[in-house]
Symmetry: D3
Subunit: 246 residues, 6 copies
């Protein structure tokens, strides 16, 4: 099967990191296609970034569909554009926040999210409510690090992030940690080893869920709200959407 792993920001180092993580858990028969949009922000840290990245991401979804991929991963913790992507794709689409929450709920009674900036906390709260995991999340903690600083995680940054996880364990009594940014994908294993509780990265989680859906022959239901959108006229920089599937 072919998986379209999309880094919705334009930071290519992040795309590489995500690809490496995805590959590390993919089944032998799984082909990982990592990509990112040509347009949009270099990192996603607020609603403005999310709105612009979502619009750009839809192009990458459409390209993946044209290449007949078997699944799409939206590798940003806000799951930007996920519902719109499900409309335009026949292959299933998974955001890494949702993927991470699913596994966190399987291995713990209560989990915490450790994320980048506190201004993204409301986005995470929104996703917890949307997906139904709010009652299982005891805290969302921001280490107050910029997303781009995660490109290469220094030792001192690792310690800061680990420190925030320890607070979640000691003060909030969480039993598992969900990493709140695709850019933390490469430290999940080390953190789990040092913290002795499950640490969940959404990128690898999403790969396994897509492989599972593929094996189970399950795709997004196209019977109602994710059915193909009506054709219509688009203007200006979105004019190419007018012709799609014509």
């Amino acid at each position: 099967m072919k998986i379209n792993v999309i880094n919705p920001n334009t930071c290519l180092a992040m795309t590489d990191k995500i690809a490496t993580s995805a590959l590390s858990v993919a089944n032998p028969g799984t082909e990982i296609m990592a990509c990112s949009p040509l347009h949009g922000p270099e990192s996603i840290e607020c609603m403005r970034d999310e709105v612009l990245a979502s619009a750009a991401l839809l192009d990458v979804i459409a390209e993946g569909e044209a290449r007949q991929v078997d699944g799409h991963i939206i590798a940003c913790f806000g799951d930007p554009g996920c519902d719109a992507a499900k409309e335009i794709a026949l292959a299933p689409v998974i955001g890494i926040a949702q993927a991470a929450f699913h596994f966190a709920s399987l291995v713990s009674h209560r989990f915490s999210i450790v994320t980048t900036l506190s201004r993204t906390i409301p986005m995470a709260e929104h996703l917890l409510a949307k997906y139904g995991f709010a009652h299982q999340c005891v805290s969302i903690r921001a280490a107050e690090v910029e997303v781009l600083s995660l490109e290469t995680i220094s030792d001192s940054l690792f310690i800061d992030l680990k420190q925030e996880c320890l607070k979640a364990i000691e003060e909030d009594h969480c039993e598992a940690i969900v990493l709140g940014c695709a850019g933390m994908s490469d430290i999940a294993e080390r953190l789990q080893l040092e913290l002795s509780i499950p640490v969940i990265d959404g990128v690898v989680a999403a790969v396994k869920l897509l492989e599972s859906l593929y094996c189970l022959n399950l795709k997004t239901s196209k019977s109602f709200i994710y059915s193909e959108p009506p054709q219509k006229h688009f203007s200006g920089r979105y004019a190419h959407w007018s012709k799609l599937r014509e």
Copy 2:
């Protein structure tokens, strides 16, 4: 005061209709600037449309800010891009769904929404939950009409919409009707007259709320999640966002 009334789709007839409604209730000292984006879909009827319209709408918000408006109205019932707009604007931003819900909750115990297509119902449900009015909404009914057909509302279309309102009153026991599309703005008054219960159009509702905020000297709090977003690099068709406020 100056109000930036934004029709987030590119259908200019709709923009005119919205402008007319807004003007009809504006205070003497209120200047209505009606506009719509250069880019994006001609109507907003699914998540794909909403995502693309949201990105395009942010430009119109930025232009309004450059012209120092005192408030922005997002005149599409999905309130697309509203949170991102609040980040980039100093002037307050109001979506017409939120505006309509506020007034519906003031004049009724339970209200219904009458909207266009049933595939937009989940978007309305999401907004009811987000704003806290879910417990006051007894039903969301779709008349199954396309948004563009509302450009000029024929007599038979009016009857269809009224019929849906009557079902909401008789079957769902609502006490007020919220109109689920800016394109219905021009029939609110006639519907209220014929139905004998309050019928609420979000466009005029939003104008009065912005005028109220202006008079009360209240603006979006910029102290936390709606604070100005960090400057960063944007690529391609969003490159102009890199320089904003530089």
Copy 3:
């Protein structure tokens, strides 16, 4: 238009303060009629006070209706008797708690309430749940001051109240403050200036909402639960209710 601004307690200095606030934001064409009941407590600080004030307040609503006002404001933060008032009035009725919550939700993601005595906190919690704003309120803080002490707010009292607001900002991360008593109406502006986040007084908020409803031609729906109550016999000190509208 004529607005019946009701101070539900019998403290006339409070009535004057409320009238001054209401007038300060009223449109040129708006006539403010400030009044208070002949009967009942001099301040409302517990459920007993609220129950007795609610009964007395209905007389003042009826008098306003007789004078054909275009709207009623219940200027006590517990919104006492608001639902009953909606039954007996044709003109719309707004409580200042509800009014304040509406504007707080428009200008912030999360707000705090700063109120008088902690024993009134459950009343505020009840209203937040009733109106649907509980998820947007991060804290209710009582400065532990008696309502009557707000008649004239001394400098030291102002500092105490401001201190409580600062705690709400620093410890609870609120983005706006809702003032939990009509008696704080006159310090809203100064507090907003000193705190640099929106500070919302329900008295002025309610005036603008009633003016908006008037302009939009919206009144309380009389089609179901706020319809005119059945005529019946009342005994003793409520005997005058037997004849109303006969």
Copy 4:
């Protein structure tokens, strides 16, 4: 022990009916004092009635306290004035709606309420939410009968009420019926016999709960929100409250 069974309306036939029900289940050592206020409506069927009855009822609570009763029952299904009564009484106070819900939740998984007029349904919904039983109530059905018509329940009225119960069983799949008016107290037994599922009357339920509290030496906690209200000045027809407990 002495129980103050209060019919909050002024219909004495109803007071007698309630007294009879209460006596029928009281323990040998329990003295039932049935009474009703001198002031207020002859029946409680809307918020106006509830507000006026609540104020009048507080006098009857105070009289009961003066006579050192060991508990108060508010025998109207809206539990009017219950929280205020808890403030001014040392003896426990129970409303019949709450009492009925408690027993319904003990003998069924899901119950229905059969009440008088549909305009009282929102009051019942409010109490279900307040007390925490909303998830156990599958329907509230109004037989559309006036409260006073329950003074003497005719055969045809009994059949109407039973019919509504049968609909609740067949259409809503309830497992028990809660009677939504003290005036139905005398038909509970017959209904239970004919319906073959538990039928719960709040009047008798409240008697047993008060006797239980008495035996268990439990009274309303006076440590916080039900603590004795502050002394203050009351005007006019409530002037007697100024002196209470002085």
Copy 5:
């Protein structure tokens, strides 16, 4: 009437303590039959214990039914096996957690639970949600004592438990305490005396509720989910369930 008071663990000293408590509040005509299962754990402190105790407890329910008791009490704070017991019993069944919550909600606005080990807290949270009392419980505090240590409560253990109650009062502002283990039944009275707020033991609470149901002629509704289970084949150590009621 005859009440089957079941201690679901096999610790006989606990059974005696529970019997003593139950007897202390029983009406003259009430016969208390205290018993415990032959099989299962000596204390219930985790889900494993609860699952095994629940299975064993059903035998004791069946024996009580054979002896035609008029009610069953499940005297362990997790209310183990309560729903299954309701299926197989004609007489009503009450768990002590549910019983305690009912009385706590009658005498306080907000209560706290003081329990044994923190690993049982999620069980208590589950019951609060199931029964509808979650919004009235401000905290669940574990004194970190093993259940068996409550067999005989030493002075120092009493002080530890009281200390936890004091924290609930001072830090969480509770107005009443619910004791989270049947083994604390004998200190409820002393705690209430020393804490000056209501302290509720579920064992005595359940006795009074069963006596009340008996007097009110109310039993578990057998019309739907608690109807008699279908007969079927059971293997091995549960083979005796195959023949029941044949």
Copy 6:
């Protein structure tokens, strides 16, 4: 990896069916060990069955642990004993209801459950709430078939089940179907083909989730509520639990 697929009832034909389903989707390196308890009911259709099956199932979990399996599946839609199993197992444990819900939420906005007997509906409702998927489930429909009749699904039974699915699609507007019994595992594929929307069987879903957890190196967090239970004395038929891990 080795997966312990447990049929919690004693019907061996059902165990075989479950094993066949599990094998059909297992990765090449996955060993499926299908088993069922020696003790307990031949089918699970009420709370009594669930309680007894749960106790018996814990033995099978312990045996699987002794054989060092890498995961346990509880293949009954009520997920009986799942939390207790997580306490006593080091390997992850998944119930098929939870597994099915996860995949249903990934491929649809709203799903329905089609199950056996309506008396099991409250169990399914409980699991939806517990796992956080209640808001995504639009209906639970019972075909009113006994579990054992699913041993071999006749053509007429298939038609009945399909009919119930069609009603869920047409009347409840679901976008996917979750099969509410492990005994329906063998018709999932055919149903999906004929209904043209996703049909989810929890048995195969659980296999893929366990394989995913294994690959991701994630196990049940043993840091708090699922930590190893305290050793203690068990009597009678549960005496063997006294010695476990001694």
